[in-house]
């Protein structure tokens, strides 16, 4: 199928994009379009106006800040994945990005776009939540920072106002001695995962985030839980969904397996990271 008709504006600045959005309640932002264009072609989305931000200057930067790594709205997944700064400052971002679709999609899709698309089956939203990151947005009322915990309201629903454009995301740095890991299980290489998990271990603190398990990216605190009870403890706080890809029972089994795997991997990463720091 082909997209339904829509108007189109190529914004030259964030301010221009904001004012175009503010002027049309049916407007949507177009960045990489790797999620939006299929939705248009299948007519699951029919915006009246697309505000294309691809030519807005200065939005593609990936920069290291004191507290972490900042990714601009037009930084393509491939550029973020290739960044040595990102890998050094917060390796979980690189680990998870390698699981985002295929290389060809990563060449065009943007990390910030994926964050605000708010798909619970996507890798990056749960990474942002697990790390306690944030998204910087600009709207008619000015700029504000939305913490990842306040970003995800429901399936494909973020807390951005209609006239707000996400301009960057901040992924906090990995603390010294902390460790991270990411894993997911998909039917086909590069396809959406039936379930995925990211772990952050810092001293005694153990937290695990899940994608494709609930209808929003969900993080569970597993501090103090014995290793052989991790999966059950996580399931006590999750309600795995049934869908055409996997039953809830099977997803629960994936949660058990993945939780044990990522926590163990994050612990060994922490140990290796610790040794590196000591050198």
């Amino acid at each position: 199928m082909k997209p339904a008709p829509f108007d189109y504006v190529r914004a030259a600045s964030v301010a221009e994009a904001v004012s175009a959005l503010a002027g049309d309640p049916g407007a949507k932002v177009l960045a990489g379009g790797q999620s939006l264009v299929p939705l248009l072609s299948m007519r699951l989305a029919a915006p009246s106006l697309l505000v294309d931000i691809n030519e807005v200057p200065g939005l593609a930067d990936v920069t290291v800040e004191e507290t972490g790594v900042r990714v601009g709205a037009l930084a393509r997944h491939a550029a973020v994945l290739d960044s040595d700064d990102v890998r050094r400052v917060q390796p979980l971002v690189s680990l998870a990005l390698a699981h985002v679709a295929h290389a060809t999609i990563r060449n065009r899709g943007t990390t910030v776009g994926s964050l605000v698309h708010a798909d619970a089956a996507a890798e990056m939203p749960v990474v942002l939540r697990l790390l306690g990151g944030s998204v910087e947005v600009e709207g008619s009322a000015g700029r504000r920072t939305i913490a990842a915990d306040d970003l995800y309201l429901g399936p494909l629903e973020s807390s951005l106002a209609h006239d707000e454009v996400a301009v960057s995301a901040l992924f906090p740095a990995l603390a010294p001695g902390a460790g991270v890991a990411f894993d997911e299980i998909a039917r086909r290489h590069g396809d959406y995962a039936m379930a995925g998990a990211a772990a952050l271990v810092d001293g005694d603190a153990v937290r695990v985030g899940y994608l494709s398990v609930s209808d929003v990216p969900t993080v569970v605190d597993l501090t103090g839980v014995p290793d052989d009870e991790l999966g059950e403890a996580a399931l006590a706080r999750l309600e795995p969904m049934d869908d055409i890809h996997a039953t809830a029972t099977y997803r629960a089994q994936l949660v058990r397996v993945l939780t044990a795997r990522v926590v163990a991997a994050a612990r060994s990463h922490a140990a290796a990271h610790d040794q590196q720091e000591a050198r």
Binding site: P5, G33, A103, T104, N107
Partner: protein, 179 residues
Amino acid sequence: MTEQLHEIRLTVNGAAHELRVPARRLLSDALRHDLGLTGTHVGCEHGVCGACTVLLDGAPTRACLVLAVTAADHEITTVEGLTEPDGSLGPVQQAFAECHGLQCGFCTPGFLTTIHAGLRDNPSPTHEEAREMVAGNLCRCTGYQNIVKAVERAAALRQAQGPAGQAQGPAGQGQVERS
């Protein structure tokens, strides 16, 4: 309702084209219908199959997931742009012919563009890297074995061709592809 048309300039295989398209025109359709470049094939039209893969500023990109208006003023390379200047087959095309890397040929244009850029960025892939290079493209005929062989054969052909075959820089630098 008359739909608004946008005047855009697309640079395809080094040649500039002026066209008038509605905003909803997919790049794959602009190439095929408006420019008559039917080498780019449209399979699933939602980004899964990879048949429509073209190079956008040198980077493999699904033409069905890009609007023509957003590709305006950028450099596009389609499968038609992969032949040598004298019209003979490029190394990836030649390798597909030699290794029987295609049967029905529907998916082939997407493989050729993907591998062309893949070998530019990684001229001597390992077997695993060769498999990974084509992991985002679907083929329902070959079973992929001969396609992976073709990747490895194309790498050898490029190397035999010498520096001329490898003159292009890394992906994402915005350079024009004119092999």
